[in-house]
């Protein structure tokens, strides 16, 4: 009995140590950037198929999807690793290694985030939410399409980076949400740091909206399984 207990105790200790080692694996700053690019494996050694990979990235508990409820609205930001962008563009169950590599080289130098504003009850049309007339409606569309870019920035470590790629994904149906595809240049410092998306809301009177991605979560991204 005593032996059994000792063995169990040793097993627990060993497991705990190996877990600790996994999370304390030291990466160079260059390697950290490669992790978020999808070129090398991160702390998370899982290799996921495109379907599972997309599901993992979209799962809020993994930290790459951040949401903030503010009264009748939900603001959310989806951080998009290059492999995720590739999966979304390729829309295939299997992706070849060469294809991923080529896509990564195209995407490199920028970081991509989808920003979404939605009505919490999932009903109605966001573009017409609290709009008093056609003039205000057109002004809102115009602002969403052009002006809003200047009210968005990304704090990456100590750098504040303006939004340099901006696309308002216009849905012509009645939708309770609007999506904005954002691109930011990489920070000046090598490595991966906490990132905070900042949106100065001038439409819905909610003030400054901040959504943060933690460095640990960014480095915990799994690897995309390729063929």
């Amino acid at each position: 009995m005593k032996h059994l207990l000792t063995i169990a105790l040793m097993f627990i200790l060993l497991t705990a140590c190996s877990d600790k080692d996994k999370h304390q694996r030291v990466l160079t700053k260059e390697q950290e950037a490669e992790v978020t690019a999808g070129n090398i494996q991160s702390f998370n050694e899982d290799e996921l198929t495109p379907t599972d990979y997309v599901a993992w990235i979209r799962d809020a508990k993994n930290g790459l999807l951040q949401e903030k409820k503010m009264e009748e609205l939900v603001f959310s930001a989806q951080y998009k690793p290059y492999a995720y962008v590739t999966c979304m563009e390729e829309k295939k169950k299997e992706i070849q290694g060469a294809v991923l590599k080529e896509k990564i080289s195209e995407l490199e130098g920028m970081q991509y985030i989808d920003f979404k504003i939605a009505l919490t009850d999932g009903q109605g049309e966001l573009l017409k939410h609290h709009v008093s007339g056609p003039g205000e409606y057109n002004a809102r569309i115009n602002y969403f399409a052009f002006g809003m870019q200047h009210d968005i920035s990304l704090v990456d470590g100590t750098d504040t980076i303006p939004c340099s790629l901006f696309h308002f994904e216009r849905a012509y149906d009645v939708t309770p949400y609007s999506t904005f595809l954002l691109g930011f240049n990489k920070g000046t410092k090598k490595g991966v740091y906490d990132k905070t998306l900042i949106f100065q809301d001038k439409t819905f009177h909610k003030g400054t909206i901040k959504l943060s991605f933690r460095r640990e979560d960014l480095l915990n991204t799994p690897k995309l399984k390729t063929t």
Binding site: T196, H205, G207, T208, K210, S212
Partner: protein
């Protein structure tokens, strides 16, 4: 003996039930939460910048007016063109001053609304996450006359709202 056991068990169940069904309440000192909220500090800074910028414009206009007035005062025979120009500039100054005052008031109201919207949401989030049925606000207006220190959530709420505002969970 059996009755005694039943009695003890019953009272234990009752006290557990009473404890678990007791409403959890707390209170916050609104002024402290408001002034410690990071969004409030940031908005205040932005407002001061805008206000100072506007003040600079008005100061510059007032300075020009003073020079013009001095020039007109020094003239023995008042030049009509100078007087007209002065009156026009003075009218512009008062107009601009009025506009800036109104804009400043609107901006303050806008920031206040944004701050209160976020504070209300975060306090609601905190209450739900921590199982509070009621969180009262002590605004110093007599609506909450007394609260035991043990129920004072001000510090926790300040930490929570600032963490939430920064985008943390």
């Amino acid at each position: 003996m059996a009755l005694l056991v039943i009695g003890v068990a019953g009272s234990l169940i009752f006290s557990f039930w009473e404890h678990s069904h007791k409403s959890k309440t707390g209170y916050i000192i609104i002024g402290e939460v408001y002034s410690s909220f990071d969004l409030k500090k940031e908005s205040e800074k932005k407002f001061t910048e805008v206000k100072n910028y506007r003040k600079k414009i008005l100061d510059s206009m007032a300075f020009t007016l003073r020079i013009m007035a001095k020039k007109i005062d020094g003239e023995k025979a008042k030049n009509k063109e100078d007087v007209d120009s002065y009156n026009q500039k003075r009218e512009e100054f008062y107009q601009r001053q009025k506009t800036f005052d109104e804009d400043n008031k609107q901006l303050t109201a806008k920031y206040d609304q944004e701050i209160l919207t976020q504070l209300n949401q975060y306090v609601k989030d905190y209450s739900k996450e921590n199982g509070y049925e009621y969180v009262f606000g002590n605004g110093g207006d007599g609506s909450l006359m007394y609260g035991d220190d043990a129920h004072n959530l001000t510090k926790e709420i300040i930490d929570y709202v600032n963490k939430k505002y920064k985008g943390g969970k």
